[in-house]
């Protein structure tokens, strides 16, 4: 059983986001990049499946700031191989990134055969589509997203996946393997690995660097950004300021005015 996990770095939105001169993209200088949250869940689910089914895990990521940290962390957590794809232009669209992944998977010796490809359901910057259905379509594989439970019936080449619907409803699906699944949440929160262990892994293991494959057709229709700005609409909340006791008193007054106390 071979599981691939596709990882993506995204800006940490806890930090201030600045718009680059030109007004069409984020200013990379001010960004702190972290692993996309649902990709972390995809990795966790792969690790859980490895424990349960004796699987082998390969993680793949495109080059990006802090990506080495994410890849070595994945190795420290139990991934068997980590691949970093290098040499592409910064700011690839999700569509281009998907093509880079699927071409690398198809042509790089030692990656195929693959039984399952896991990645996050959606990243906060997936403006032109989601990576999981894009990779699935490129590779001719089945796809399902928003998965919160997963198990494998290896002899039957089936995944049993639970997908989230609105209103806390869930759907239980049977998916032919190999397949590409977009994970929403692993069955348990992503495990923690101490920094010291990641550091030790950096000394003892390697991340394989692969050159970006030449893409057959670069001329995909692209989404044209006209303008990017911080989301600061006019209808902003009235802010209550002061010491905690003052603020609490003010809020009490407001709730009382609204007949809520």
């Amino acid at each position: 059983m071979h599981i691939l996990v596709l990882l993506k770095m995204v800006p940490d939105v806890v930090e201030e986001l600045e718009i680059a001169p030109g007004g069409k993209a984020l200013d990379l200088e001010y960004l702190r990049m972290i692993l996309s949250e649902s990709d972390d869940h995809a990795l966790e689910e792969a690790l859980v499946l490895k424990e349960r089914h004796d699987a082998r895990i390969t993680v793949l990521a495109l080059d990006a700031p802090e990506v080495d940290d994410a890849l070595f962390t994945a190795l420290a957590k139990g991934a068997d191989r980590a691949i970093k794809i290098v040499g592409m232009d910064a700011g690839l669209s999700t569509r281009q990134a998907a093509r880079v992944f699927s071409q690398t998977i198809a042509h790089e010796p030692g990656i195929l055969p693959v039984d399952l490809i896991l990645t996050g359901v959606q990243a906060i910057d997936d403006l032109d589509g989601l990576i999981a259905p894009l990779v699935a379509d490129d590779m001719g594989l089945p796809y399902l997203g928003i998965i919160t439970r997963l198990d494998l019936d290896a002899p039957k080449h089936l995944a049993l996946a639970v997908k989230e619907y609105p209103g806390a409803v869930r759907g239980e699906f049977e998916v032919n393997l190999p397949a590409v699944l977009g994970m929403q949440a692993a069955e348990k929160p992503p495990r923690y690995v101490p920094v010291a262990k990641v550091r030790a892994t950096m000394k003892s293991r390697t991340v394989d660097c692969l050159p970006v494959p030449t893409l057959a057709d670069g001329g995909w229709p692209a989404v044209q950004v006209v303008e990017m700005r911080r989301n600061e609409p006019a209808g902003h909340a009235e802010m209550l300021e002061g010491a905690p006791t003052q603020v609490s008193e003010r809020l009490c007054g407001i709730l009382a005015e609204h007949g809520l106390l």
Partner: protein
Amino acid sequence: MTGSICVLAEQWRGHMSEVTYETLALGREVADQLGIPLTAILTGSNARELARTLGAADSVLYVDHPLLAEPVPQPCAQALAQVMADRRPRALLVPLTNVSLGVSTLLSIRLGVAAVNFCKDLTVVDGQLRALCVMYGGKIEVTVEAGGEPAILGIWPGARPADKGRASRPASTIEQITVALEEPRVRLKKYIDPEAGDVDLSRQDVLVAVGRGIQSRDNLGLVEELAKTLGGAVAGSRPVIDQGWLPLSRQVGKSGLTVRPKLYIALGISGAPEHVEGMKDSGLIVAVNSDPRAPIFNIAHYGIVADVVETLPSLTAAIGAKRSVSHHA
């Protein structure tokens, strides 16, 4: 349908989703501005009756196929691609819901066009369709033009009031389209309906909702105190549920419940679109967040920039004092 605005009419478990009417209302506006017709496209099984509810559109195209009874992304995109192939509309609006997630991406590949995700609104500028999208968990807005036609536009729930997209009469033309679908490789076995929780969030007048900003399960006691003092219940954002700190029956948002209490207090919740769609219609929204730029402040009526753990005790005390005074008065 050539040159029309199309809307994917989302149905689920035999019912038309509310978001369909919201999206139709938005589609109607855009179609009128461009002076072109509005077409609704419905895929499903026994879809004819549901097609009659889409009178906000000028025409309805529906596909009736047993493999489309449950909305699985690949067959759905396959069917839509066949419906749209020789009809080349200007744009297709696809609701961004858990039911339809993935459909717009898959369809865009089949049609060789771009997909635009995360659209909150659409405008027409010099005859060109522009989308206003919300990215980065709600912190950034971007105006975009889709490359090529048809533009495939994923629309967040809540773009317009659903009532504006309802009509008392069916559309003047309702046409059935036949498609050929591949044997499905993704099969729904069954739905799992949520177990009734200890409280029904949708019936509460007051909800005190916690997000990741609460930092630790140990701090939940402070939140319960506040909820108790206000006579309300505790709700949560997704990370709090995923951590196992609160049961699924307490989740508000896209995958959880939609609530409209008289008072919604959001504590350490950033205000990501997926959370906001579940609570934006609450009567009064108060947000406490340490980040002055948290998107939750864009929909809250009142905001407090503070550490939630530090704020909770004084807030609970003040409210408790006020309540006991007013109860004794």
